[in-house]
Amino acid sequence: MDKEQMRLLKELMEVEFVVLETALYLNTHPNDERALRLHNTYSQKLSELESLYQARYGPLKNTGMSGCPWAYIDGPWPWEINFNMS
């Protein structure tokens, strides 16, 4: 995994974490409009980043599109990525 892929992956992980955290909060505060705005903004950002990442590096889920050959199987798998390198 080169530096650019790792940078984009980390950014994706950060944005996804924001969305996960706002979602948990919204589960018990469904009428909090400020939290909803935050969630929706980052949800949009996550979709854009996922599209960008997957167009370059292949599907993150097996429901995604791929060129030939099927890139979902390509390593490194998540437990093989060495985040020391960054």
């Binding site: 979602a23 018990t28 469904p30 993150l60 097996n62 979902y72 985040f83």
Partner: protein
């Protein structure tokens, strides 16, 4: 249903090979207050949770726990994957190695296999949410012990993240309990 996302929830950094630390961290892979117990506990309790807030929370936190289980397995794997046999012999990881090699396996740090006896689902949402809040606090305490025994800055960083998640989950379950109590009070009077 579930769909796998090909990424970790948090970037795992392991600075040095350390089979002894791996043997301790496996507590959270297959111990009573570990991530597997947490995930299976919350996902199992969903069918008898009456409020939508509670159903959503058990689903999402249960799912997040499985992502934490993957992080713990990754920590264990990276701590042992490059270890030559003479760095395993004489460490607490040796007993694990003679059965499972370098594969993570769901048992606690003392080698006791994971069992569903670690979890509970009572079809009583008040009892279940109290169990869940206690589980989060017990997991937080375990992470604090693990942080004390860790001498690897990368591992400690990941453990701190996981400890913090326990605190957030405890908070959310407390809110779900309050919502549930209001729901039950309303049912009584209307």
């Amino acid at each position: 249903m579930w769909i796998y996302e090909k990424k970790l929830q948090y970037p795992v950094r392991v600075d040095t090979t350390n089979p002894t630390l791996a043997a301790m961290i496996i507590e959270q892979f297959g111990g009573p207050d570990g991530e597997l117990s947490a995930g299976i506990r919350y996902l199992t309790q969903r069918w008898t949770m009456p409020t939508n807030q509670g159903k959503a929370l058990l689903t999402d936190i249960g799912t997040e726990e499985l992502a934490h289980w993957e992080i713990i397995g990754t920590l264990v794997w990276r701590l042992v994957k490059d270890a030559p046999i003479d760095k395993i012999k004489g460490t607490p990881f040796e007993a694990h190695y003679v059965n499972h090699g370098k594969s993570p396996f769901p048992h606690n740090a003392a080698g006791e296999a994971w069992t569903a006896g670690y979890i509970q689902s009572k079809a009583d949402p008040i009892a279940d949410l109290h169990e869940d809040m206690a589980a989060e606090e017990k997991a937080r305490a375990t992470y604090e012990y693990l942080i004390r025994v860790s001498d690897d800055p990368g591992v400690t960083d990941t453990l701190r993240f996981l400890r913090q998640r326990e605190v957030v989950h405890f908070q959310r379950f407390g809110e779900a309990l309050r919502i549930l109590q209001e729901y039950m009070d309303n049912k009584k009077y209307y």
